[in-house]
Amino acid sequence: MSTEIENLKTYDPFAEADEDSGKTKQTQEYIHIRIQQRNGRKTLTTVQGIPSKFDHKKILKVVKKEFACNGTIISDTEMGEVIQLQGDQRTKIKEFLTDKENGLGLDDKTIKVHGF
């Protein structure tokens, strides 16, 4: 009996909406890859929404070396940690995110590439 009740509690739809919504958000959340124009021919690439289970710092380090570009991590109040890279790295970063061997091995569908 007691175990049943406990089970019920954990799945109680009314108990804690935050947890539930958090889970659903995680499944729906996309990784957004955007591009931004700077002065002249220069551009910035921002990667937003990389799951927090990954170490952003390490990712940045690898990516910077691989793409031969500079970059930073910006912690935004709304968007969380955003990786910002110099230049148009959209296709490269997408490949990196989906690569199973040398990358994060994420699902292609969770990644949205924006921009022109």
């Binding site: 957004h32 955007r34 931004q36 124009q37 935004d76 955003v82 910002q84 022109f116």
Partner: protein
């Protein structure tokens, strides 16, 4: 056992060789054009290739003299088959007909099941383009000619619009697939041209006109026209453009959109394309005849006018935008 193993090895070696040999033989024979006399053995090989054995074998026989010759020679030479196979490499260049016999003999001579399988593999892989395709063609032709020669001719004569020939009302013989198919498409294009032109049905909008204003701004001149065409509010499209391009802008006096940053027409086209995919076309029927409306709960819904489906679309969200330049920093 030892002998068996040996034979297996020989076969293996022969396979690779035979394969090439076969090709050569076929070509040479083809030019010679021997009369095809398909044997049971050949049929078996044909069987291995494809389920419809008889037409295939016939086709093969007709097509490649070597094949036909081979089967005939094969039964007689069963015992000698192995040796012959080994020999045929050398022979092939010299005499076309002799080669054909040898080759034919080889497949037959071996245990049929294994050899045939191997053979077919070889044939398929190396010959893919030429031989296999040809065989298929032959098969088709043979099948039509041999099995349903009489009905075919009738069908071709028949006219489905007038109801003559095979398409007669009381005609009882079965109609072949190809005339039925052609009739279907003819009727479809006649009565339902929309459906007939499937696949690449293009939704056409006028190309965006991009002008450069000064050095840092782009003018999107015909935004209003495009929006009208898509039946979308200007604001919605501009919001999407700005979000995707990661910039800002304004609308000038003559309803032209001024976008900050340099953009080429191609780039704007790409963004418009994604917009149309996301906010204009119906996901169910792919028709662009849709309406975007604000439903309850501040959600946007797309209602399709042609199929009636309704789906919710994401609100346009401006994502993270990095600070570019110093002035912005001061503003923030």
């Amino acid at each position: 056992m030892s002998t068996e193993e040996l034979s297996l090895q020989r076969r293996a070696s022969r396979k690779s060789v035979a394969f090439t040999d076969e090709k050569l033989v076929v070509d040479a024979d083809g030019s010679v054009t021997m009369v095809a006399s398909p044997n049971d053995d050949t049929k078996e090989t044909a069987m291995s290739h494809t389920p419809r054995t008889p037409p295939l074998s016939a086709a093969l026989g007709a097509f490649t003299d070597a094949a036909s010759q081979a089967p005939a020679a094969a039964p007689a030479e069963d015992a000698d088959g192995l040796d012959l196979r080994l020999m045929k490499k050398k022979k092939k260049a010299k005499v076309g007909t002799a080669e054909g016999d040898d080759e034919a003999a080889a497949p037959v001579a071996g245990e049929e099941g294994i050899d045939l399988l191997l053979k077919k593999k070889k044939k398929k892989v190396p010959k893919d383009n030429d031989d296999f395709a040809r065989k298929l063609e032959k098969l088709n032709i043979e099948g039509k000619a041999g099995e349903e020669a009489a009905p075919e001719s009738e069908e071709q004569e028949g006219d489905w619009e007038k109801g003559t020939g095979i398409f007669k009302h009381d005609e009882t013989s079965t109609i072949n697939y190809s005339p039925l198919l052609s009739r279907f498409f003819a009727l479809l294009s006649q009565k339902n041209p929309d459906h007939a032109s499937t696949g690449t049905r293009s939704y056409k909008i006028p190309p965006p006109q991009c002008l450069r204003e000064g050095n840092k701004k782009t003018i999107f001149a015909n935004l209003a026209e495009i929006c009208k065409r898509m039946k979308r509010a200007d604001e919605h499209v501009t919001a999407y453009l700005f979000a995707e391009l990661g910039t800002s802008g304004s609308v000038d006096g003559s309803r032209r959109l001024v976008i900050k940053g340099r953009f080429q027409q191609k780039q704007i086209e790409n963004v418009l394309r994604t917009y149309i995919i996301e906010y204009v076309t119906c996901k169910t029927c792919r028709s662009p005849n849709t309406e975007l409306s604000k439903g309850e709960n501040r959600l946007y819904f797309i209602t399709c006018n042609s199929c009636g489906s309704r789906r919710s679309v994401q609100a346009i969200k401006t994502g993270f935008s990095a600070q570019v330049g110093k002035r912005r920093k001061n503003k923030a």
